[in-house]
């Protein structure tokens, strides 16, 4: 979604919520003989689970497995979270639900587009002086196709609660209680932009991803600053809506008072504020509300204040984050404010040294605790049907802390490893503690399924797909000497280019009749080129390690046959253990080396070949199939409630119910 479209979309969200009563749940009232609790722990790796069970660190996992079982869970190709969770949601493969990557491309202009949502600006607007007033709301559309399994349950009056499901923003239409998860933007319309106010800006790279660095000055024990918000599309010149705030520093003690709008609070150095509401004025009588956290990192000698991404306020959501529209308000009334951005952990702030490891963990533990409180709240009233609950911390911790578990990793730091080398194990133990905490809600009627979308592996080396395509002659540049400059594919000579890389696993052919400047003929020329590329990709050897970076180059048309095949790439790269796409290649860059070392804190990943990084399936009932996959879990859920599995679904039931 473009940021400028954000506010236009809020209008339709607001109108929508007015049109429907807030607390009326529709179908889904049936008393079911069983209850199904599904805990989605993103990135939970079956090998790590098994290892920690052997060490005796996961007694509650072990107890559930003893009653039922543990199996590696076949993940999606590619094993990216939006794709994998969409497999689970629909019981379809990517060619059936239409999501192949975080990013797709528009074949008209070769530009990246978000796979999960499509935004449309309002068609009718009027100009009034400096103001632009939309006469209709814009639209934001979920691009995932196929019916969600809870919609099938609803058709049979079976109740379900779906909390923080990825690939479900905006939430699929239902009258059951759902809260959107990964894919839900912050108030800027982005996946998360923090703000950092410092009198020492030189310490941080100003051009960092996921954050903005602001230079501020302490004058007379005061700091004046501005918090940026969404683009104000109610104004013709479309400036950013902003809120000014002041920080009053105690002249002696490391303490400060922050005044922002109606909020006024005091923080000690190294103290977090908890959620604070901010209102961005748009036009007389209209503002947009968000929530954010402040962290007073340092008062002296340098003033440093971190402000988290501004999340959509769940007590007054500007965009549709839940169904029915009042569900998030109900949760706030019961539990207080909570994070709404899809992935709340601020990995960018950690990666860019704005937050330390300790500060990152403190914040993420707070998010996790919010989630657990919400889970407990729902468990207390879980009497029938299905409850799905998603946790992101397992994924995010493994992305950020893998480097400290492995002395061979290029980002390994022995000093940090002394303190944080056990963080990955710790998050698995925290999940075990979660199971202990909810044990009392699990009765003999409750079937417990713990699942993940993929496993994990180290990210030590990055593959520059576009550089390789250029070096091997499949991608031609008009000005090769400036290949890494300019915007996306700015110097590409499409009249001579046969292939290009975009997204985290995707290689596309410049196909005639599909791409606007395609040159490869459909049919034999296309088929031969795809095969040639797949073979060459699989035979590349990393001169540094002697390994093959690409374990499998899947030819998409050979593995998928559904109606949305054309949305996806022609070849899906399945990386080898330790490898991933490079940092620059997903958005069309051409760095100097074909393979580069990853020295970022983001050091674990899951872009590998599906067979190398399966997810996890754990249940308190026997798993009767030796190699279950994500779509089998969907079929299992449908089957558990005695419903017929739709013919288009790929899976089959895998739990034995006695």
């Amino acid at each position: 979604m473009k940021r400028r479209e954000f506010l236009e979309l809020t209008l339709v969200a607001t109108l929508g919520s007015l049109a429907r009563p807030s607390f009326i749940y529709g179908r889904g009232q049936k008393e079911t003989p069983i209850k199904v609790l599904v805990l989605g722990m993103d990135g939970l790796d079956p090998n790590i689970v098994s290892r920690l069970i052997k060490k005796g660190h996961l007694p509650h996992f072990e107890r559930i497995i003893a009653r039922g079982g543990l199996a590696p869970l076949g993940t999606s190709i590619p094993p990216q979270s939006p794709v994998a969770w969409a497999n689970f949601i629909t019981g379809l493969d990517p060619s059936g639900h239409g999501l192949f990557d975080f990013i797709h491309r528009d074949p008209e202009n070769y530009l990246p587009v978000f796979s999960g949502t499509l935004s449309e600006e309002p068609k009718k607007k009027i100009n009034l002086g400096p103001w632009v007033l939309p006469l209709q709301g814009g639209k934001i559309k979920l691009m995932r196709q196929g019916k969600a399994f809870w919609q099938i349950l609803e058709e049979h009056d079976i109740p379900s609660v779906i909390s923080r499901m990825p690939s479900n923003y905006p939430p699929a239409e239902t009258s059951q209680r759902t809260l959107s998860g990964m894919g839900t933007p912050d108030i800027m319309g982005s996946y998360g932009i923090f703000n950092y106010y410092t009198t020492e800006p030189g310490e941080i790279n100003p051009d960092i991803g996921g954050g903005r660095i602001h230079q501020v000055y302490v004058i007379g024990h005061q700091v004046e600053a501005t918090l940026p918000g969404p683009v104000n599309t109610f104004r013709r010149d479309q400036p950013e809506a902003t809120v000014d705030f002041k920080v009053y520093l105690d002249p002696i003690n490391p303490v400060a008072k922050i005044v922002i709008g109606k909020e006024e609070f005091i923080l000690k150095e190294k103290e977090w504020s908890g959620w604070r509401r901010v209102h961005f004025p748009l036009m007389p009588g209209k503002s947009i509300s968000g929530i954010c956290q402040f962290y007073l990192k340092e008062v002296r000698p340098h003033f440093k204040l971190y402000v988290s991404a501004v999340h959509i306020d769940p007590s007054n959501p500007a965009l549709p984050i839940c169904t029915p529209p009042g569900y998030s308000r109900e949760l706030v009334a019961q539990l207080g404010l909570f994070h709404t951005k899809g992935l709340p952990a601020d990995t960018s702030a950690l990666d860019n040294h704005v937050l330390s490891e300790e500060e990152f963990l403190h914040q993420d533990n707070g998010f996790l605790e919010e989630s657990l409180a919400m889970l407990e709240f729902e468990l207390k009233r879980f009497s029938s049907g299905l409850l799905f609950f998603y946790i992101s911390s397992t994924d995010q911790r493994q992305h950020m802390f893998w480097r400290l578990t492995d002395p061979e990793h290029p980002s390994y730091d022995p000093q940090l490893a002394r303190f944080f080398g056990g963080e990955i194990e710790r998050i698995y133990v925290q999940m075990d503690e979660l199971l202990a905490r909810i044990e009392k809600y699990i009765d003999s009627r409750t079937i417990v399924i713990i699942m993940s979308d993929h496993g994990f592996n180290p990210f030590a080396r990055g593959f520059n797909l576009n550089t390789w395509l250029f070096e091997t002659g499949y991608h031609k540049l008009r000005n090769p000497w400036v290949k890494d400059k300019g915007s996306l594919f700015e110097y590409t000579d499409w009249s001579r280019t046969k292939a290009y890389g975009l997204g985290l696993n995707g290689l596309y052919i410049n196909l005639k009749g599909r791409e606007s400047q395609g040159i490869v003929n459909p049919g034999a020329e296309y088929e031969n080129l795809v095969r040639e590329l797949a073979q060459r990709l699989e035979s590349i050897i990393d001169p540094v390690t002697g390994k093959r970076p690409i374990y499998r180059a899947y030819i998409t048309r050979e593995i998928y046959h559904g109606p949305y095949l054309d949305r996806g790439p022609d070849i899906i790269l399945g990386f080898n253990w330790g490898y991933r796409i490079s940092w620059g290649s997903p958005l069309g860059k051409f760095p100097a080396d074909i393979i580069e070392t990853n020295q970022q804190k983001w050091s674990g990943d899951h872009m590998g070949a599906a067979e190398l990084i399966p997810g996890t399936l754990i249940a308190n009932r026997k798993i009767i199939h030796p190699a279950p996959s994500l779509t089998d879990v969907t079929a299992t859920i449908i089957d558990l409630f005695g419903l017929r599995i739709p013919v288009e679904m790929k899976g089959r039931p895998v739990l034995k119910i006695t």
């Binding site: 990246p112 940092w583 997903p586």
Partner: protein, 63 residues
Amino acid sequence: MGKAKIKIDKHLFDKIKRYASLAGYASPEEFITHCLEREVAKLDEAETEEEIKKKLKGLGYIS
């Protein structure tokens, strides 16, 4: 639709007139409008690219 006037260097305008005629445009105005529309469309696309980069950077998968 409202109209707006802009000032343009006389020497440049003479060239525009000449090329507009050669390229088959009905008038210099039509040629200028076409050129500007094309450039604005490029900027719109560039903004989309920047926006998507910002959004993804928040996710953590690209730099």
